[in-house]
Subunit: 325 residues, 2 copies
């Protein structure tokens, strides 16, 4: 307990303790000082200090596959006894046979079908309970820890640092909003009402006098690419002054953030650390990936527009919370 | 200034100063004491003190017509020179000839077409500027004041009272979210990100290198009736412990709020004061209306389920902020 206290008071003195003293950390601190100092021309009132964060690959890991896909696969396996037809039908057959190449070959349409089938047909309350239970029991295949421990310590510190400077922090993610909300308060300090994400439709029903919201196998909103500024406008109604992402899906969110007046901070996490986490691009010649693609065109746009690229390898002292302890 | 200070310190002592000392006011105070007292079994942690408010007819007036309809009519008149075909085409003809019976006869479909045409085809930034300008210049036909002064003083005090007790207050309205957001912070103390409403679709476009969101003539979401619990789940992700409405459109929101565990407060504003505001039902034999219908079935459900009906006439000392000064 004494050690924990000492460590937390150290963190209070050094709000970005897990960041190396590089230009990236300096850019964050300078930006926050510019917008919070009432004497400077770029001062922003607290109610307009909106910061938006992508989730997968930005706040927590996304390899070897998106966490929500790992969840969907486990759901399909759990539901399989009620669906004997899945033994011969793709993409379910691939899931049941742990055939990842065949699963990948089913493409976005196949993955979407997997998510739909495994996430729908139950009430919002039932779904929340299933997600919470899964997050407690499932483990990451490489690090053998809960997925909620696969968060990035420097980003947790960044969230806390921004909030300590009266920013309101939002998640704006392509992931399912109801998959994220059960854990965002405890893990990121972000309440459900500040989580924007993709969603399926729900329907209000009264069963035996008890109102419930049933989850339908129908897409409501895809919060990715051009959907991110649309989602920001729909859910937040204000333009962020800072936004953080890690892949091509965040390009438009960063463009939208950058197009506002006054000081702006746009950052992209670049996974260039195969040893401590993963390395993928294909930007800068790193291996290509289907999960969190960072194309060269995004790297070029970042350099051209002054978006900061966070190098995991060089800018982060530690990666996961367990490493920082 | 001395008087204003005296009055504001009086209000600090008496947070619901414009409410008469009736059972309705007592129900509010008792509920807040129950959920904020850590020693009582119904205590609710601050982050779960979610209160949702309908807007039209609950926080501000809706007669002789919804404020947004008055806005749409003014927009159609402003756009008419570019649309000579409107002179002979309903519902536009009715608007241009100030023929309200013909306009009403066009039904919901006609009104929706009016709103679509007058609210779409421009960017979100342009629309916001038009709404702000209209709210500055338009006047209510009976009270001759700005629509933002047609708010209900007792409800403003209720919002402030709840927030003083660490509630987070949200608007959940059938009105257009982008019609409300330009004024909710100044008028209600509710920031844009806590406003849930109906919406049309927007599309991200980059014009001359400048990103913008264009408003399309296509419905995205109708936040009314069963849409209210759906919207609450989608935007807030938590069940409210208190909700406030005034018409059939709020029935499901109150059902959804009431179906949660622990102490709950559900209230309906009943417009029974023709002298100081308006009187309409058709519940309790008051005149029927197309704007904010309060049917007898809703009154019966309220009585059966212990939802409180706020009588404007008996429960409110004053109606509009100007009366309370
Ligand atoms: Ca991502
Ligand atoms: Ca209403």
């Amino acid at each position: 307990i004494v050690l924990a206290l000492a460590s937390s008071s150290l963190h209070a003195d050094e709000p970005l303790a897990s960041w190396n003293d590089t230009a990236t950390k300096q850019a964050i601190v300078e930006f926050v000082e510019r917008v919070t100092n009432n004497d400077l021309p770029d001062y922003v009132a607290p109610e307009d200090r909106i910061a938006t964060f992508d989730n997968d690959g930005t706040l927590w890991g996304e390899h070897p596959m998106y966490t929500q896909l790992a969840f969907a696969i486990d759901r399909v396996k759990a539901l399989a006894p009620q669906h004997p037809e899945w033994k011969t039908k793709q993409p379910f057959k691939a899931v049941l046979e742990n055939d990842l190449p065949a699963l990948a070959a089913s493409g976005e349409k196949g993955l979407l079908e997997l998510v739909m089938v495994s996430h729908a047909g139950i009430s919002t309350a039932e779904f929340e309970a299933i997600v919470k239970d899964w997050l407690e029991t499932a483990r990451h295949p490489r690090f053998k820890k809960r997925y909620t421990e696969m968060t990035f310590q420097p980003m947790l510190e960044l969230l806390a640092y921004l909030r300590a400077n009266d920013f309101k922090t939002f998640i704006v993610s392509g992931g399912g909003v109801e998959f994220m909300r059960p854990m965002t308060q405890a893990v990121y300090g972000i309440p459900p009402e500040q989580v924007v994400g993709s969603s399926i439709k729900t329907q209000y029903e009264v069963k035996d006098g008890k109102p419930m919201l049933m989850r339908l196998a129908e897409i409501d909103f895809i919060d990715d690419k051009t959907g991110k500024p649309v989602g920001i406008n729909k859910f937040i109604g204000k333009r962020p002054i800072a936004s953080f992402g890690n892949s091509a899906g965040d390009r438009e969110m960063l463009q939208w953030t950058g197009a506002g007046d006054g000081a702006r901070l746009m950052m992209l996490v670049f996974h260039d650390d195969a040893e401590r986490e993963y390395a993928y691009g294909p930007a800068d010649g790193l291996p290509d990936t289907k999960f969190g693609t960072f194309p060269q065109s995004l790297m070029d746009e970042a350099n051209e527009k002054g978006w900061h690229v966070i190098s995991m390898k060089n800018d982060w002292k530690s990666i996961h919370p367990a490493d920082a302890e």
